[in-house]
Symmetry: C2
Subunit: 207 residues, 2 copies
């Protein structure tokens, strides 16, 4: 160790590794310096300060989320494939996408996906403002779902999901419903079901 001179890329890599493992709160300038075997202050020369170090990590994440390749034989299927790809990629970088979210850059991160959606919605025959609405509705649906899903995973306990809730009124009339709601959510299934339902409603003529 120690022979090569410290570089900005090295700093970013070490920082990214710390953040990926234990989240941004665990990223301390002093810890990072120890990791790199330098004085705390030399980090400042390369990245400015802690805030812009985190900004740089976020920037890198946004760039990594670039490529999207829709697959499927019709627009509906291809939209669903975009949705599933996005969901998977987001779930691989939980801490980093949380940081992107905090900085209000979620939207920019999804630009390539938005372009893909525009293409598919257009191919499905939607035009003008209606196409724009459809793209945005789908985009919000996908991203919103994943944000909420991430949240549920960190949740301390699904505590009241069960009996607490389903003895009142309605559940009495419909035990299968009560049982279904007592079971944990299957996110993959719910995700596909939701996207399919929304896409169907948006792509079929209003009449």
């Amino acid at each position: 160790m120690t022979r090569t001179t410290l570089t900005r890329a090295e700093v970013l890599d070490a920082a990214a590794s710390l953040v990926k493992q234990h989240g941004p709160a665990s990223l301390t300038m002093r810890k990072l310096a120890a990791e790199l075997g330098t004085a705390v202050t030399s980090i400042y020369w390369h990245v400015g300060n802690r805030e812009s170090l985190l900004d740089a990590l976020v920037e890198r994440t946004v760039e990594e989320m670039g490529a999207i390749r829709p697959v499927g034989r019709n627009p509906g299927d291809r939209i669903l494939s975009v949705a599933r790809t996005l969901r998977r990629e987001l779930r691989e970088r939980p801490h980093l996408i949380a940081m992107v979210h905090e900085r209000g850059l979620t939207d920019r991160m999804f630009l390539p996906a938005q372009q893909a959606l525009v293409h598919e919605v257009h191919a499905a025959g939607l035009r003008g403002a209606r196409a724009a609405d459809a793209v945005r509705a789908i985009q919000f649906q996908i991203i919103g779902f994943v944000l909420l899903e991430r949240n549920r995973e960190r949740s301390p306990a699904q505590s009241p999901a069960e009996g607490d809730l389903w003895d009142p009124a309605d559940a009495l009339h419909d035990p299968p419903l009560a049982r279904a709601l007592a079971r944990p959510v299957d996110p993959e299934r719910l995700f596909q079901l939701s996207v399919r339902a929304l896409v169907k409603a948006l792509l079929t003529p209003t009449g």
Copy 2:
């Protein structure tokens, strides 16, 4: 000042006020003590430590989100009214709901709303597992939308929403679409449009 003895409720109120104004990062035990006119350490006697102080604030927020009254003459309208109420209430407490989100309690906060949705979906004729799916899809849609919407508001700039994106391929064929996407999102409109589309698809028979 100074005459009455310090109380847990006072500590929570002062803390909530600081958090509501400038977010949780601005809540410092020392600042809070100054605000209350006591020694830093007496706060610890009442609330334990900073973390459980924040937990208590979050708990209070979850309780405040209790009452939901659906209005409208059919299930579809009443579901939409639930959605709009939730959206409004969330938007009134941005920092606090972000904290609820971070702690993974978003779900628990929405229990009353979920109950209301169960009632309406049942009234619309859905039963059993299909009703459960519909409730959850709608719930995810609403909460996800608001999470993302909040994010966009904090966004530094909608920088590339415009020209950057829409000269390639598709936009050339459909100038009104390009124009529509260049305009900023109208969240209220998009929200209602999305919820309506999803609800419509979920409440109508699959055939």
